[in-house]
Amino acid sequence: MAKPKVAFYWCASCGGCEETIVDLAEDILKVVDAVDIALWPVALDTKRKDVEAWVPGEVAVAFINGAIRLSEQLEWVELLREKCSLVIAFGSCAHMGGVPGLANATNRDEIFANKYHRSATTENAGGVVPQTETAVEGYDLTLPTFWRDVKPLDQVIDVDYYLPGCPPPFDLVAAAVGAILEGKLPEKGAVLAPEKALCESCERNDTKPDEMTITEFKRTATSTPDPEKCFLADGYLCMGPATRDGCGLRCINGNMPCRGCFGPPPDTLDPGLKLLSAIASRGEADSEEDAKVLADSLVDPLGTYYRFGLPASMLKRSADTERA
């Protein structure tokens, strides 16, 4: 029997998701024993016309990482959706928008103004900005359209499963590949990771006092967390209570509070607002002035509560607004 074919594709991402596969080192040979890699732009030179020539269903599964920011990314993922039996949103950016999704806190004009005119390191005397169509020496050159919003994968195509994480840890990837090969997949739309919150497997949970009070928010940039203590009890904003388990506590073991890359556990309406509410209740402030001082001690609340999930959160604009 022929080996099943898989495709890897990247959109607006950093390359860290490819690194998960590359990190396998020689174990990648075991992957290649089990499946044929039909598309993997980071390592193989497959062209779009090759993919266009695939028969629908010829490729068993596409692992797509990265958020959707450019018109070209939409064209690619629509093509892969058509040709592949299963589409898996791979990593935080495809799952929820990820770090690139924080750009939704501003707008396209501001981004272009900063990038091409204002920033201290920009030298652009001619005021040149990218154009979708340019005529140069008789040639018509085109660039993809830069969308107003960054979108997670499921806001543009139908997604079968999600592999969360920045990047997804390989044990979850291997379990997912195993489930696909054996045909033992859960219900469509599932996030292929545990359903409980991270705190439940965090060793520091035992150090959490019964009545936690938060007096100020500290930053890991300016002070070092106690290596044993619950981050929240120690005054560091940890996304653990509002984040899905399954990452293997990579940040916690590195003495960094959880940043929420796995996204919320099931049935959480909005992890950022919910955690804000929970944290605020535990704050130590008995007057409006003290409450303001406590709130102001958290630098960058948007980037802290929504580091990986702004485009998938309640704060997003509704899906029916036009794309470009």
């Binding site: 707008n107 409006e288 609340p301």
Partner: protein
């Protein structure tokens, strides 16, 4: 410039024990205040989850009022303190996202303060009228028509 045609839509989350009763008092005392606010009775200002506030703003409200018992008077002893601590955190978050913090107001209004209730609603309605419509979905796209 304030748009004279613009009628703000305001959602008011009113605590059942103090502020909602205060609103009743304003009504039974025949005090006049703008009809722009739709009051929603909640058991406690501490029950007003930030998701309620964001949902109201997303779905068309131009402003949100959260009113509860004065600190120390909470029927559940400290629900309004939770609301008090949450408020500046939510304002900071929404401010960073580009929503003017002046659109969300917290007030302590007791059951006997019908007059204060009418004043707060009048003042807040004026304030939102000055700020203009929020229009959550269009908020960022206004100046993004062209690439």
């Amino acid at each position: 410039m304030a748009d004279q045609q613009f009628e703000p839509k305001i959602v008011g989350f009113l605590c059942r024990w103090c502020s909602y009763t205060g609103a009743d008092l304003a009504g039974t005392s025949r005090m006049e205040y703008p009809a722009n606010m739709v009051g929603i009775k909640v058991m406690c200002s501490g029950r007003v989850d930030p998701t309620f506030v964001v949902k109201a703003l997303k779905e068309g409200a131009d402003g949100v009022l959260i009113a509860g018992c004065h600190p120390g008077d909470c029927h559940y002893s400290e629900g309004n303190y939770k609301a008090m601590r949450r408020h500046p955190m939510l304002l900071n978050l929404l401010d960073q996202f580009g929503v003017d913090p002046k659109r969300i107001r917290q007030e302590w209004i007791s059951a006997s303060e019908g007059e204060l209730f009418a004043e707060v609603v009048s003042e807040f309605t004026d304030q939102i009228r000055q700020l203009g419509p929020l229009d959550w979905n269009k908020r960022i796209e206004a100046d993004c028509e062209t690439v």
